[in-house]
Symmetry: C2
Subunit: 415 residues, 2 copies
């Protein structure tokens, strides 16, 4: 038996429940009593088709996805969807409003962190419509350049009739997330969004890093929600899409009207028409995702995880505040904008950050180094991180603060 | 312990070596002594980066990939590449020959089966250049409509200076493959291909279903070779690319000259510049692929598998011929065009095919049903199928022929 498992606070790929991994080892050799492993069986076998259909139900039930939306499974991660949403939703808009010029067709982006910014850049690369920044949260930051907040509702400047509005629900690099409390000014401004003549919202949400960690507000009003699996849900290699039926458009018909051709592997309608089996899907990641979802259901679904995740985050934020009072830690995100999934802070003092990381690793806690673009510490608290894992980290943080305080005290006296 | 494993003759996803799967169960819980499972660890961890680099070496060494070519790892399968090759190679061609009109820019497709036909259709969908059918093997078929052969070298009608030439090395649905014997008329017509002014060949090969089963002739002359992993190499969810460096082009510069914008996840240069880590790759399929490649190396690499695969195919084709002599089987592919990987035949007589399949399944052999579009029997003989697995099937085929012969004899006498 290899060395024992550590606690993995990494930002994704991230921790999975050990019980799920143990069950998965059986499926690798023999999937659901077929005598064939999950990595070897046909994606068109009745056993796999049934398994995939069950995953769809597990997501639909737990997340309360209405029958107006399809749940689809694809590959390519968030990066693939940065392009796919642009191509599919501009094709839809072309079919609805063929008369508009490229300048009259607008994509609204809400920038609250690195990932929404990357998506925004991809929209600019692909062209076909004008890109409007409906909000740039950096303008409201403490230092004027960082993503450290969700600005208040009044600051959004939406286009009157955008082809779509894009946001990223949780920013893993910057530790910024829209508030779960709809009355907070840092919640998502659903009431202010411009609607289409039909009354529909052309709203696209990247929920990669918060998917299945808590309910999604106004889910049924979204045009598209997408999520890479490798945070709360399963291994990398699977992307889940929730697409409102009016967004499953004939991209070839749109191309005839002048929209950009859509690579077949990125067409939502192709995926939906084939029930996510147009070509061979990423079956092993799908399998493990299925096991995770079954376990979630057994534990009490999103109600359970929402309460758990809230509690975990509160404990870590409290430990940061205690460290701030002693001048040891410094939170990086403004009040009300802090993520439940990725909690970021700095450790103050020369070499202190490195000491914090080394000590954590020695205590069996890995993955705490902040993203290379922003530095600092990042604690990722996805579903598979237990309350006891969190307590262990919080205990370590408290000890670190006490020791740093004692040292500072000692130093002061020796001068 | 679940029911014992059966022999999986499926066309892909397909059999993997049991020893690899057993090893993989360890990595699921603890990857290379990190204390973190392979589905959970960061793709930027030094352990994973080293593992990926080793996979690259294992492919480069065994397949003899020259230093002029990059080996890249992506998602999306062959279907993703049907689009990606068109977008990247038309971008390249635009940079080389910006003055050409869409009608002067030509993509040459060689159609020898269902998969090359699908790729051809995608090229037509994406547009940006004219599509020329350099060869349609159906014209040379026994029935005039099926893909059952590779036509002789003299039948290809290439464009004088195509942007690229596309072929599929092995057709899984139709059981057609280019001959491994370069002197055979059913080999790939390398000597007849039109070269660019530079002397380079703009040649694209879909090697999905024969990759790593035997050496690739003229590999170094290819512009792009791609392969989904889920045949000889590993689980679905990983696509391997071998790209000549002149095909890693700045797609944004090409777009400025009028080429179609390329979704970032499909850009070869983006993938190469990031060493296949632009975004989170499909790590679990990559891991198992690495274990398969290590095992291949231990067993003697492609020399070993070429000899083994040739022998396995010869045994099955011999069994079909024996059955043909007794009027029980009927081979579907013309002489010299039969695939080593997917051997297809019909079982003659009312209900006989269904009897053949049921009997095989009762004897612990699954996955033998032909593709739904063509019917019949398909025996897939990928690397993980052992000679003893093959012998078991051949024994079953011989028995089936004997019993069918005896029944026919009995029926004749009872009339």
């Amino acid at each position: 038996m290899p060395a024992s498992r550590v606690i993995n606070f990494g930002p994704g790929p991230s921790a999975l429940p050990q019980s799920v991994l143990e069950k998965a080892t059986q499926g690798l050799l023999n999937f659901n009593e077929t005598g064939i492993g999950i990595a070897e069986i046909s994606h068109r076998s009745k056993e796999f088709v049934a398994f995939l259909s069950n995953i769809e139900s597990l997501i639909r039930t737990q997340l309360d996805v209405p029958s107006t939306h399809s749940i689809l499974f694809t590959q390519g991660g968030g990066t693939g969807q940065f392009s796919a949403v642009v191509l599919n939703l501009l094709a839809r808009h072309r079919l609805l409003y063929p008369e508009l010029t490229a300048d009259e067709r607008v994509m609204d982006y809400i920038l609250t962190g690195s990932w929404s910014e990357k998506a925004f850049q991809e929209a600019g690369r692909l062209g076909g419509a004008r890109v409007n920044v409906a909000l740039d949260a950096r303008k409201y930051s403490k230092d004027g350049v960082s993503f450290d907040n969700v600005p208040p509702h009044g600051e959004y400047a939406f286009s009157p009739a955008p082809a779509f509005i894009y946001y990223c629900e949780n920013e893993t690099v910057d530790g910024v997330q829209f508030s779960a409390d709809p009355s907070a000014q840092t919640s998502f401004p659903f009431a202010r969004l411009p609607r289409e003549r039909s009354g529909l919202l052309p709203l696209v949400g990247d929920h990669s890093s918060s998917f299945m960690s808590r309910p999604i507000p106004h889910l049924g009003e979204h045009a598209v929600i997408f999520a890479g699996a490798q945070k709360n849900l399963g291994p990398a290699g699977l992307t889940v899409l929730i697409v409102r039926h009016d967004c499953l458009v004939d991209v070839d018909a749109a191309a005839k009207l002048g929209a950009a051709p859509v690579p077949l592997s990125l067409s939502y309608k192709t995926l939906a028409d084939s029930k996510s089996l147009y070509n061979t899907p990423s079956m092993l990641p799908i399998y493990i995702t299925g096991l995770v979802l079954e376990r979630m259901q057994e534990l009490g679904g999103l109600t359970y995880f929402e309460a758990l995740n809230k509690k975990k985050a509160e404990k870590v934020y409290a430990a940061i505040r205690s460290g701030e009072e002693r001048g040891v830690f410094q939170g990086k995100v403004q009040d009300g904008s802090g993520s439940w999934m990725n909690v970021v802070f700095n450790v103050l003092g020369d070499g202190a950050e490195s000491r914090f990381l080394t000590g954590a690793e020695e205590a069996g806690m890995k993955g705490l180094k902040g993203h290379r673009s922003v530095g600092g510490i990042r604690v990722s608290l996805y579903n598979a991180i237990t309350e006891s894992d969190t307590d262990k980290l919080v205990g370590y943080m408290k000890n670190f603060v006490s020791e740093a305080g004692a040292q500072a005290f000692g130093v002061k006296f020796s001068c």
